[in-house]
Amino acid sequence: MTQFYTRMGDGKRVLMTKEQIINDIQAGIADAADMGGVPDLTSNDIDMLFDIISDKNRIVGVEPGNEVVLTYDIGQLDFTGDNGNSGNGVDVGRLESALLHERALGADTFELAHADYSIKPVKPVIANEMQTMEEIQNEIVIPYFYGAMPNAGLYYAPDGPYGNPADLMREFKIEEAMKAAELTADHLARDIEYVATRMVAAGADGFNFDTTASAGDADFVGTLKGVEALRKACPSTYIMVGMAGESVMGIHGSIEYRGELAAGKYPHQQVKMAQKAGANVFGPVVNTNTSKSLAWNMARSLTFVKECVKASDVACHVNMGMGVGGIPMLETAPLDALTRCNKAMVEIAKVDGI
C-alpha cells in the first residue's frame, strides 16, 4: 500500500497511508466543527487537502494569481530576538531590519517592535519608539506598523498593580478575581490609546495588536476597548487585531464587549467583535496539537478559518507561525509542512493574507 511522508504536530516525519490521512482529516474537521459550531469542510475541500498533503514535492505553492498579502508579528525580533521568539540572536538595527525585510525578503508590510513586544513596557520609552518610527518612515516604502501584544498578564501581580486572578480564584476570592480582571481591561485600554496614538502621531501606518486575548477574556475586552479608542482618535489608521488562540479563555467568565460575552468566542465570532471595535484586518489563530498529525491539524485549522473568512467583512490574515494554522509546533518548522499549510489556507480557506 502506498505510503506518504508527512508530519506530526511536533514536526516529526511519519509515513501514513491515504486512508490514515483521510481519517485524520475527517477527525480534525469534526473536532473544529464540534467545538466551534461551524460547518464541516466540503468533500471537494477534503480532496484538495489530501492532494496538497500527499504532493511528492518538498515545497508547494499557490497557483499564479492566488497570491495574498503578508503581514508580520514581532518586527525586527525575528533577527534580534532569542530562541523564545525563534530569533536569530543577530543584533541588527531596527532600520536595517525593516529595510532588509522590504528589499531582501519580499515583505508586503512590516513593523517596529519593542524588545519585550508588549504594550505596557513601551510607555516609559515612548519617545524613543516615536523617533525610531519617524526615522524609518523616511526610508521605507511598504506599510510600516508599530506592533505589540496587549499582554494583560503584565498588569497582574507580581508584575502589575492588580491581584492575580489565578491566585485569587485558588483562594476562592472569585469576586476579587473578576474585579482585578475588569480593572486590568480598563488599564490596558488606556495604555493602548496612549501608546498607539503616539505611534500614529510619529507616522506609523497603523498598529498591529498581536496575540490578543493571551490572558483571556479581559485581555480581549481591554484590547477591543483600546482599538475602539484608537479608531476614534485616528479614523484612517490601519488596525490589525491578531489573536492568541481559537477560543477566548474565560478567566473572568462574564466580562462583555458592547453587551457581548467575550469568553468562549471562536474565530468566526471574534472577527465580528474586532470589526465592531474598528479593526481593518483580523488575524484568526488555531493552535496546533503536537500529538496529532499534520493532516488532523490542517483540517482542524481550515475548518475554523474558512468560516471566519466567510463571516468577516474585512480582510483575514491568518496566523501561520510555529504551532499555529496547522504548522508544527517546532522552533524551526519544516518547510514541507509550512508550505502545505500556506497553500491550503489560501486555496481552501480563502484567506486574504498570512
Binding site: V68, D78, N138, P143, D205, M240, I354
Partner: protein
C-alpha cells in the same frame, strides 16, 4: 514569527505577493485603507496600474513599471525615489493618503 529562513522566506515563496519586488505593498495599502478583501484590493490596484490582477505579483511586469512610476524599487538605483518620496507617488497613484506623508507635509509647511 522568528526563524526568517523558515517563515518569512517560504511564506513568500508559497503565496506572497513580494512587496516592492512586485506590487504587494500596494494591495496591502488597499486592504487597510478601504477595508478591501484580497480580490477587490487586487482589482483596484490593477486598474490604477493599467495591468491585470495576475500581473501585480509578476516581477517581469512590475520591476520596470515601479521604476517608471517612481514608487520604489527593490534594487539600489541612484536617484530612484524611495521612502517618503516614493510613498507620495503611491498616494497619487492609488488616490489615498499615507500617514507618514501627511506628517512630512505638516513638518515642511510654512
Amino acid at each position: 514569527m522568528g526563524d526568517t529562513a523558515g517563515m518569512a522566506v517560504p511564506h513568500y515563496m508559497a503565496s506572497g505577493m513580494g512587496g516592492i519586488r512586485s506590487g504587494g505593498d500596494l494591495v496591502a495599502r488597499m486592504q487597510f485603507t478601504k477595508n478591501m478583501k484580497i480580490g477587490p484590493a487586487k482589482e483596484y490596484v490593477a486598474k490604477k496600474l493599467g495591468i491585470s490582477a495576475l500581473d501585480i505579483a509578476d516581477e517581469h511586469v512590475m520591476r520596470e513599471l515601479r521604476e517608471e512610476l517612481k514608487i520604489g524599487v527593490i534594487t539600489g538605483v541612484p536617484g530612484a525615489p524611495r521612502g517618503i518620496a516614493a510613498k507620495m507617488n503611491i498616494e497619487r497613484l492609488l488616490d489615498i493618503k499615507i500617514n507618514s506623508c501627511d506628517k512630512f507635509r505638516e513638518m515642511t509647511k510654512k
